[in-house]
């Protein structure tokens, strides 16, 4: 069955079963491989994308449910790595292997879009679904605080 998805502002005609997880449509049908597969059961968060601005686990979100909604993946967060979360991630050298970082960044960006100055416990609860096997959690915490500063300084954006 064919349907249309809007990803990063572009429309894509997709031929897949409507119950196919959004993750696999993004990766295999559309070719946006920045969103990763980790567990398939919404336990690790590496597949996190935004649907209408809300963070969702794309591995358990059906593609059909995203029809008519704005989907944003890591590739669409900014054109030039200028999103405050991306800049903070680079400044604080967050990624190690990097595999989980698309999901971490999408979760962090969603947190900052609804909470400009998150507390430590707000950061922890917003990021608790995102596993990192390399153990970059301390830098993630610091980078979210730094991104919050950047977003509010002149030239920052959210």
């Amino acid at each position: 069955m064919a349907f249309t998805l809007t990803v990063n502002g572009k429309t894509h005609e997709v031929d897949a079963e409507p119950e196919t997880p959004l993750l696999w449509v993004l990766r295999d049908n559309i070719g946006l491989t920045g969103t990763k597969f980790g567990c398939g059961i919404a336990q690790c968060g590496v597949c996190t994308v935004h649907v209408d601005g809300q963070p969702v686990k794309s591995c358990t979100t059906t593609a059909a449910s995203a029809v008519g909604r704005e989907i944003t993946t890591i590739e669409g967060l900014s054109d030039d790595d200028s999103h405050p979360v991306q800049r903070a991630w680079i400044e604080l050298s967050v990624p190690q292997c990097g595999y989980c970082q698309s999901g971490q960044i999408m979760s962090a960006a969603a947190l900052l879009s609804r909470t400009a100055n998150p507390s430590d416990s707000e950061i922890d609860s917003a990021m608790a679904d995102n596993l990192c096997r390399c153990g970059t959690y301390l830098r993630i915490r610091k980078a979210i605080r730094r991104a919050a500063e950047m977003a509010q300084s002149p030239g920052g954006r959210s």
């Binding site: 597969f37 292997c97 595999y99």
Partner: protein, 731 residues
Amino acid sequence: MMDMHMKLSRRTLIRTMAGAGGGMLLGFHIPGAVAAVVAPKPWTTPTDGAEINAWLTIDADGTVTIRVPHTEQGQGALTAVSMMIAEELDVPWEHVQAVFADMNRHVNYGEEYIVTTTHGSQLVRLQHPHIMQAGASARERLKAAAARAWGVDRSDVVAKQGVLSAGRHSAGYAEFATAAAEITLPEEPAIKTPNEWWLLGNPTPRVDVPVKVNGSAQYAIDTRLDGMVYAAVRSCPVPWGRLKSFDSGVIRERKGIIDVVELKAVDGKTGDADMQNGVAVVADTWYRAKTALDLMPIEWDFGPAVEVSNDSQAAEARRLFEIAGEVSNEVGSDALGIIDASETTVIADYHRPYETHARMEPINATVSVTDERADVWSPTQDQTVPLQLVADQLQRDPRDVYVHTPFIGGAFGGGGGGRTAVTRQAAELSRRLGRPVKVIWTREEDVMQDKQRPPVHTRLTAALGKNGLPEAFHSRAVWFTLGGAERHGPATADYSIGTMPYLVPNRRHERHNVAAHIPTTTHRAPGANQNGFIIEQFVDEMALAGDWDPLEWRIEMTKGLEPWQRVLLKLKEVAGFRTDLPRGHGMGVAVVEDHASFCGACATVSVSRRGQLVVEKVVLVMNSGYLINPLNAAEQLEGSVCWELSHALYGGLDLKAGRFMNSNFNTYNLMRIHQMPEVEVHFALSQDGWWGGMGEPGGPPTPPAVANAIYFATGKRVRSTPIVKHDLSWS
């Protein structure tokens, strides 16, 4: 296979291969070129620059491209190799870009990179001499070429920050790069000593970070090729069981299904590089393949291993505790006799269960087989391994096999063995289907079929003398590996115990290597992570039984051992360790050697009356001899704390009826952000001629420091993991 090599002089070979550096470009200013890693023929990607040696080229604009033969799994290989070469070459760091080296060239044409594996915290520790020498050699050849052109002595030429100069002469390196490639030096230069470094030793951001914040970094699982199809696979849940039957008729007509293929273990191959019996469903998308596989009836013959469980192994361990094992180390004499005769003994049994790697990138590989060649994308820690594996599986000449080094979504020791079976599967399927095949294991397959960290059961006994310090020490370790082999380094079963530094006059260390059907392999800090937990808690048990402060005990018992003393005295200085905190609060210390580095930890915990544990803080003191990048080192140490605390606090695989009951992150629990303690890193470097590793040694001392802290907080000694399964309540 050597014919071609023999016909080519080294000079011709360099020319032939120049421009065949292969791999992807990445660096500070060209993230767009990352796509080359999955371009159809990235190994033919021309580099404009002149190749001075296999390690580097210099472009006309002065850009130095450094070819890294190691893999980047988050530990900073691209940056470390580039820094070491840039240090010797003496070029501005901003002019450097890193690419992955061509493994086909390496394997088939002279192994110029000497070592390509990326494990054992060894890249800087063991490989820095030849890597730095490649940079020094290039620098001296540039100087020689300039000297020849300018009519001066090479010793009159200065090479600094990309510029050659002598008197009134001055030129960028690029001007003499081609000529330098032709130079043979009468004598190769020595590498710099640390006091001459200008770049090494400075905190330097990793070159791979920018491509990891925008989704452009390419992992093996991201490979996309024209005509590629996808496979989901299932192997017998009980390893080495047989596939009895499967009914593909049920799924053949489903949309997108291309084939259902039985996969057979290769006769005689049961080691790291094996493939289990199983079945693969191939489809036009992976999700269709996986969904169909889930629906297909499969019957297995599990074989005799269904009798094996964690409990059965524990019973076997208790039996073997009473029987002498193979002696791994002995000091002094008659340790057992002294213990038997002693009135003050300490005895305890410890256990660490199976653990899995659970790298965030699930096990996967892509292979494209044609009549002419085979191309491979495999997230292994040594890219020559998939090359040789595919050649073996296809019975093809290795010269026709090309590996395309991807970024690796975590490795942790399992990228050497755990990801090789999948590469055979992909090669076999691509050969049969005649098109590129990407095989992805589900997370469930990944957890159950990975090659696991071996479990260990250990009994420790000690006899204390009049001063409260041990005069005799005995350990008997029982560990379970595939086939019972002592497989990964000497005495891994009791590494850190048999190799402990403590100056006990009489020691005897024994081990039993027990055959098990569960495939096993290395797992970050192999041996040290399991056994650090064991020996460093038992040290506290001995110290407290002898009325010693645990930190003072360690300082006393390592007197004269410089690297250990340096760590312990620094820990005493910075950590504020004390044993008199109020009930419910505790601090603990531990120190473990791993991969030639010495790392001490001091943990602070709180435990509620009802037994709720919070690890508040971990202070690490690291002695790796030298340090080339403090920023990357701190990242590795923080990450190692998370790594091994994950297993010690929450992990553990549950083996029942020959198979693992854990299948995904809902049944194999790992540390999450709110559970991560504050980590404070200190370096205490001997700088005394020896080099230690950095990627693994931060893990081993952390869990015993936490467990020792729990003891002070609660009075409870936790001798097995996962710690959170113990009742830590107190009143």
